[in-house]
């Protein structure tokens, strides 16, 4: 199977590889997939809590080239979006952009799951921090 040029580009020059400390305020972490399935993605966002804008995003992925490309692309797209806009990213957008063949669609699904999980984690931490702040005042 030949890879699309965009998949090869993301594989060779992955954008935003790395990690944020999980406990930093505004950081949301999504860890999805399973080692025995051959794909695990960790996607992190750093949100400006005043504006709701995603300032930065990082990923690490265990998986095939298409999984690496899907998560790399996701971080690229997330930067500068508000959390509400980020929630609208669909796996089909990733499929179209990377021209993923049918057998690789699950990679894009996993990337969408990772985005959702990171957003949910961010929200949960924000709510908890708010509750903690409320109880101390």
């Amino acid at each position: 199977m030949a890879y699309s040029e965009k998949v090869v580009d993301h594989y060779n020059n992955p954008r935003n590889v790395g990690s944020f400390p999980k406990d930093t305020p505004g950081v949301g972490t999504g860890l999805v997939g399973a080692p025995e399935c051959g794909d695990v993605m960790k996607l992190q966002i750093k949100v400006d809590l005043q504006t709701g804008v995603i300032e930065d995003a990082k990923f690490k992925t265990f998986g095939c080239g298409s999984a690496i490309a899907s998560s790399s692309l996701a971080t690229e797209w997330l930067k500068g979006k508000t959390v509400d806009e980020a929630a609208k990213i669909k796996n089909t957008d990733i499929v179209n952009e990377l021209k993923l063949p049918p057998v690789k669609i699950h990679c894009s699904v996993l990337a969408e799951d990772a985005i959702k999980a990171a957003l949910a984690d961010c929200k949960e931490k924000w709510l908890k921090a708010g509750a903690a702040a409320a109880s101390t005042t």
Binding site: Y11, E36, V40, K60, T61, F62, C64
Partner: protein
């Protein structure tokens, strides 16, 4: 010597034709085009003579007593199908039970599945963590209805060489027909149907530097005389076991390939074994948590299979595929989207099955190529680990098994 790219190190999927093989084949496409079954003119006699000479060379390579025991097929898959289905049908009155292993190639596994649907009973013997079948397990699996034992000679992924002589001896004692899929072993290591007690043996030309499209099934004629129901009916060629006009040029190539293998085997296996060991030492010496799959000793000299923990096999191949052709047990590289059942049968975690890479060397690989592949592999694995969340977690001391993964 400068390395020419891409480097082929996937010789257990296929091998290039040896130029001497092509040279031997060429006249049989044009001036010597006769049908070997044409008994009444020189064109036929010439073709028949060429086929007989090739048959004798293959018989010698696999230790057959009589060249007539070699039945030509279209390849290894057909040979395996003919062996299993042919015995199941021919000996139906005697029994319906087959003993085989969990790590046979797909032709063996899928043929057994079909036979099961048709009323046969199949016992699949497990393998030990090193890939070896315990002969005692084979013995225990035998019932009074067992008509066939089918155990591969050497595995296509991990190269593990089974104790074929011991299984042959067991089969003789029990009066059961013994088939071995020797597609990966023939021409590479000593194979002897006579001394190893093999009754049926499958092999193929394209793995021994011969052409694609031709293989053979050895069918023992004496002690015991094995009979097979044919799968293809027609002119009664190949002692009635495989009808169809023989592909004379391919058979001539197969014969020449066998002849060369017999001649060079000791030197070639020593050379490839040394290169393989160097590749193995270079990689295992530079990459932590890289695990050798299969038995380190009882292994084909040209095979190396390593699982690189925390990186997925297809992504490793992708980093190498511009310069080097290898293969992986990763689900992403298989048609079935399942990770390697061979690595899984060793009891390794599925994650390690997804992470397995097979290097298989051939006659024309050089030391410089091995040097290059070792270096690039190490580089690619290290780069992928830098972007692996699993490697990061493991380095933080997190037990990956303690995480509740959200699988799709």
């Amino acid at each position: 010597m400068a390395v020419k790219f891409p480097i082929f190190m996937d010789a257990q999927s296929t091998t290039p034709c040896d130029p001497r093989v092509v040279e031997a084949m060429l006249p049989y496409f044009t001036e010597r085009f006769g049908h070997p079954a044409s008994r009444n003119h020189p064109f036929g006699w010439e073709a028949e003579g060429a086929v007989d000479a090739a048959r004798a060379k293959i018989a010698r390579l696999i230790g057959a007593r009589d060249p007539k025991e070699v039945v030509f097929t279209s390849g290894g898959t057909e040979a395996i199908n003919l062996a299993l289905k042919g015995v199941a049908e021919m000996y139906r009155e005697k029994g319906h039970h087959i003993v085989t292993t969990a790590i046979e190639q797909r032709a063996g596994l899928d043929t057994c599945k079909r036979l099961e649907r048709q009323g046969c009973e199949v016992t699949s013997v497990p393998v030990q963590p090193n890939g070896l079948v315990d002969v005692d397990d084979v013995k225990k699996a035998i019932t009074d209805k067992t008509i066939l034992i089918s155990v591969m000679f050497a595995n296509n992924e991990i190269g593990t060489i089974q104790d074929i002589a011991a299984i042959g001896k067991l089969a003789k004692e029990k009066g059961i027909i013994f088939h071995t899929d020797a597609t990966q072993a023939v021409g590479k290591i000593p194979v002897n149907a006579e001394t190893m007690g093999i009754d049926l043996l499958s092999c193929t030309a394209h793995l021994i530097y011969g052409p694609k499209g031709v293989g053979a099934l050895y069918v023992r004629r004496k002690g015991p005389r094995v009979r097979l129901a044919p799968m293809i009916d027609g002119g009664g060629h190949e002692r009635g076991m495989r009808s169809g006009t023989l592909p004379v040029p391919l058979i001539v190539g197969f014969g020449r390939a066998a002849e060369i293998c017999e001649e060079v085997m000791p030197a070639e296996s020593a050379r490839l074994g040394k290169l393989r060991d160097h590749l193995q030492d270079s990689i295992l010496g530079s990459v932590d948590e890289a695990y050798l799959n299969g038995d380190p000793e009882r292994r084909l000299p040209h095979n190396l299979n390593i699982s690189f923990a925390y990186v997925e096999g297809e992504s490793v191949l992708m980093g190498l595929n511009k310069e080097t052709a290898l293969s992986s047990g990763s689900a992403c590289t298989s048609a079935t989207l399942e990770p390697s059942y061979v690595i899984a049968a060793l009891g390794a975690s599925s994650e390690l099955a997804h992470s397995s890479i097979r290097f298989s060397l051939h006659r024309f690989n050089t030391e410089e190529e091995v040097e290059f592949v070792a270096g690039r592999t190490i580089q690619v694995v290290k780069r992928l680990r830098e972007m692996s969340p699993l490697y990061e977690l493991a380095k933080e001391g997190v037990d990956l098994k303690s995480i509740r993964w959200k699988a799709e």
